[in-house]
């Protein structure tokens, strides 16, 4: 957790009773009007912990983008639009539903929770902050994620991802839990994982039942770490990266921390089967073989 987010969380707890709250109905407001309305109210709170409940969202974009440095939590109902939390720097965004493309684009600090699934390029170039997605995430998620000094972005996805997950990844922690939480699969319906068990997503003939089908996974990755739980196809990996099984959660503090936080965030929704899967694994760790995959290119 970044120091800023920690401070905010602590501030939020300390001021639990005194948090100012505002309800905003987004119906009929275009993006700029909505964000200006939120910003104007948040600024009036003079840096005090605040909570804004936004209802009836219909694709309004950039929620949280103009709230850098404010210890505010937005509870979002309906469907927020693209670039939710782009350049996010501090606030907490809680989406009670699905999110679109670009969640946490170039995020610096803060926390985003999506109770459904998220679209493409989530956490693109994120340098810090946290993103928890209950369901699945689309193409090119965690692409070129970085880390810097104390900042280490954390992305935990309850389900799985589409192609190019973690491409060019240069830092941070990205986790795919493979719990079958995405659309079309009821919570806990997915795998009875023993010996590669039956996946609700099925598998190509002879390929075995896979939870994660991610062509170009971690292509060009040169920093950070990706964890996968459940069956996947290691042949999608390039020679730049290596995958190893993780012995246990205890043996892998970064993973244990990520799983622990996901469990805490979604404590109400996780059922016993899913908790068991999280406990048992199997987990895999994907890391770059070297920091310099692009050395020796030039004459």
């Amino acid at each position: 957790m970044s120091s800023m987010a920690t401070q905010l969380a602590q501030a939020g707890q300390a001021l639990a009773e005194s948090v100012n709250e505002k309800q905003i109905c987004a119906r009929g407001l275009v993006t700029r009007q909505l964000n200006q309305t939120i910003f104007a109210w948040v600024r009036e709170q003079r840096g005090g912990a605040a909570r804004v409940v936004v209802s009836n969202l219909t694709g309004q974009r950039y929620l949280g983008t103009n709230l850098a440095g404010y210890p505010v939590r937005l509870d979002l109902y309906g469907t927020p639009g693209n670039d939710l939390g782009a350049f996010l720097d501090g606030p907490t965004l809680w989406v009670h539903g699905n999110a679109q493309d670009g969640v946490g684009n170039t995020m610096n600090a803060g926390r985003i929770v999506v109770e459904g699934s998220a679209g493409d390029v989530a956490a693109l170039s994120a340098r810090g902050g946290e993103l928890f997605i209950w369901g699945n995430v689309g193409y090119r998620a965690c692409l070129h994620m970085k880390e810097y000094q104390g900042q280490r972005p954390l992305v935990v996805v309850g389900g799985t991802a589409q192609d190019f997950f973690g491409e060019y990844m240069a830092g941070g922690v990205a986790v795919l839990l493979g719990l079958g939480t995405g659309p079309g699969s009821g919570p806990g319906s997915e795998p009875t994982v023993d010996s590669g068990g039956a996946s609700s997503q099925g598998g190509a003939a002879g390929a075995g039942p896979l939870i994660h089908r991610i062509p170009y996974l971690a292509t060009g990755m040169h920093g950070g770490v990706i964890y996968l739980r459940g069956e996947w196809d290691p042949s999608v990996l390039s020679t730049q990266v290596e995958a190893e099984p993780v012995a246990s959660l205890r043996a892998e503090p970064a993973l244990a921390e990520a799983v622990g936080q996901f469990t805490e965030v979604f404590s109400v929704r996780l059922n016993a089967v899913q908790r068991d899967l999280l406990e048992r694994g199997p987990y895999w760790r994907i890391r770059p073989r070297g920091k310099r995959p692009y050395a020796r290119l030039y004459a």
């Binding site: 275009v30 993006t31 700029r32 009007q33 964000n35 910003f39 974009r61 950039y62 983008t65 103009n66 850098a68 440095g69 693209n82 670039d83 782009a86 350049f87 720097d89 493309d101 670009g102 684009n105 170039t106 610096n108 390029v121 693109l124 170039s125 340098r127 090119r140 692409l143 070129h144 970085k146 880390e147 810097y148 000094q149 900042q151 491409e167 060019y168 240069a170 830092g171 060009g220 040169h222 920093g223 020679t239 920091k291 310099r292 995959p293 692009y294 050395a295 020796r296 290119l297 030039y298 004459a299």
Partner: protein
């Protein structure tokens, strides 16, 4: 990669292959003038000069010479002459020496040939084929020494109409810019005018990253921009904390690597520029090798020390004009709609249609970088073969935006090898609002176009990665040279304007009647929208 590994394995067995190349330059030392002082030894960053203890004499290993002339300039007795090596292969119009040399280097190393600065090939420079008008008899020319001349330039979107009486609140809900339409409203109130940059001269310093250039060079550029009432661009390598004090004169870049981009970076700058492309390397990404990512550069780019700093070829959140609009408005939201947002592209074949898309995506400024634009490092094959000249791109874009009646919605900034004030004023007449200069600024600071920027060994301290070399550039003195350059060019622009009988640069913008072509073919004149001389 397989090839490179084979080469590395081969090196382990055979050692490095012998270079089959002769020196590019000859270092001639006049024995009558040389006093064996050794200044050349300390000045050369490429290790050419050395002291031979046995002969008690300074000697030169001239195969290392890159022709930067640092030693010749600093030799106290003028004993050194640097000449191109006259040694020649059998003449061959097809297999010219440059091809042969590059080919041999590639056979030796198995790598991509890198270079620095702009395209040095003899493509037609259209500025040299355009001539300016002057007043004679029928209207008076103006003497800028006696009369005020206006070079002030504003960069930003202009609404279709301004309603001086209405206030913002009187405008209908949703009338302001909307990310889906991506267009400014037709009618805005005075208080709702889009943000703009104010330049006292139409010359800005183009994007050059800390890392590609030294801290001292960036400091000099920022100082000069402030002193001249204009702007300098950080490039995509972040914005060093100690240089944030120039914020009123700094344009920040958001490129595909998003290095150093955070809320402070965006909000402290005067303008935010999305870098899509660069004239020296259209269509490809960038790569600052890990060995150059030392602590201060890592801190500025906000990445760990020693990792390769990769700028992917595309922005992976931009695969369409709609996606570009998404990022433009993300940046406007992040900066509370207080900063203009520019989009920089390389001049390529369909640049007019691309520019139209960018304007419709909601950009306030479009920057276009032509095929002669410079770089700190690019594959030579790309630099020399990809893109189109800025003159043609500018004329095509300006015309297209006028035809589509959206020229007012964006300002045009052009870049790519502006060598003199005449190039600048001709660009204004072809429709540019302002220009970016990079190479010219470098030359002002001492650069001799040796094209070795990518080595980090710049003997003039401009693109030096080594702190000891970078300290050779005194930022205050370099800034003074830059300020002098901008003042000189501005004075010349005023002279030329006055000669045309114009007292404000704004009156020349897009005014092609003040240009005539010589030595161009009809299609070129058609693209440029200029008549032939005498017509």
């Amino acid at each position: 990669m397989g090839q490179a590994r084979t080469h590395i394995e081969a090196q382990a067995v055979f050692g490095p292959l012998k270079p089959y190349l002769e020196p590019e330059f000859l270092v001639e030392r006049d024995p009558d003038r040389c006093i064996q002082c050794g200044v050349c030894i300390s000045q050369c960053s490429f290790g050419v000069h050395w002291f031979d203890v046995r002969r008690s004499q300074v000697r030169a290993e001239q195969e290392r010479c890159v022709g930067c002339h640092r030693c010749a300039v600093f030799c106290p007795t003028g004993a050194l002459t640097i000449r191109r090596n006259p040694s020649e292969y059998r003449p061959n119009a097809n297999w010219r020496p440059e091809f042969v040399a590059d080919l041999k280097r590639q056979a030796e190393t198995g790598g991509v040939v890198l270079t620095g600065m702009g395209n040095d090939k003899p493509f037609r420079v259209y500025w040299d084929h355009l001539l300016l008008n002057a007043s004679q008899v029928t209207n008076p020319s103006i003497d800028p020494l006696r009369e005020p001349m206006e070079l002030r330039t504003f960069l930003g979107a202009r609404p279709d109409q301004v309603n001086p009486s209405a206030s913002t609140s009187a405008l209908a809900d949703g009338a302001t810019s909307h990310p889906v339409e991506g267009l400014p409203a037709a009618m805005v109130s005075v208080e709702d005018l889009p943000p703009a940059l104010q330049l006292e001269t139409p010359i800005m310093f183009s994007a050059m990253s800390y890392g590609a250039i030294s801290f001292q060079a960036q400091l000099a550029l920022f100082e000069a921009a402030q002193a001249c009432g204009t702007y300098a661009n950080t490039g995509e390598g972040g914005w060093p904390r100690p240089l944030r004090r120039f914020h009123d004169h700094v344009i920040v870049q958001v490129a595909s690597g998003r290095f150093g981009v955070d809320a402070d970076y965006l909000n402290e700058a005067a303008m935010v520029e999305i870098k899509i492309g660069q004239g020296a390397k259209p269509g490809i990404g960038g790569h600052l090798p890990g060995e150059k990512v030392k602590a201060p550069i890592a801190r500025t780019r906000m990445i760990p020390e020693g990792t390769d700093a990769l700028s992917p070829a595309p922005h992976h959140d931009i695969y369409s004009i709609e996606d570009l609009a998404l990022l433009i408005y993300a940046l406007k939201e992040a900066t509370h709609y207080e900063k203009p947002v520019a989009v920089k592209v390389a001049a390529v074949h369909n640049v007019a249609a691309i520019a139209s898309g960018i304007a419709r995506a909601g950009a306030d400024v479009i920057a276009i970088d032509g095929v002669r634009g410079g770089t700190g490092a690019a594959p030579k094959i790309i630099r020399d073969n990809v893109g189109i000249p800025i003159e043609l791109a500018l004329a095509a874009v300006d015309r297209r935006l006028r035809e589509e009646k959206i020229r007012n919605r964006v300002s045009l900034v052009v870049a790519g090898g502006f060598r003199s004030s005449a190039d600048v004023i001709k660009a204004i007449a072809l429709g540019a609002d302002a220009v970016y200069i990079g190479t010219a600024a470098f030359v002002a600071m001492g650069c001799t176009l040796c094209q070795k920027c990518y080595t980090g060994k710049c003997a003039w301290g401009i693109t030096a990665a080594d702190p000891a070399l970078a300290r050779r550039l005194n930022p205050d003195l370099a800034a003074e040279r830059l300020i002098n350059l901008v003042h000189a060019w501005s004075a010349e622009i005023k002279e030329m304007l006055g000669g045309m009988g114009i007292n404000a640069l704004e009156s020349l913008r897009g005014n092609r009647d003040h240009l005539r072509a010589v030595g161009l073919e009809q299609w070129e004149m058609d693209v440029l929208g200029v008549k032939g001389a005498g017509q």
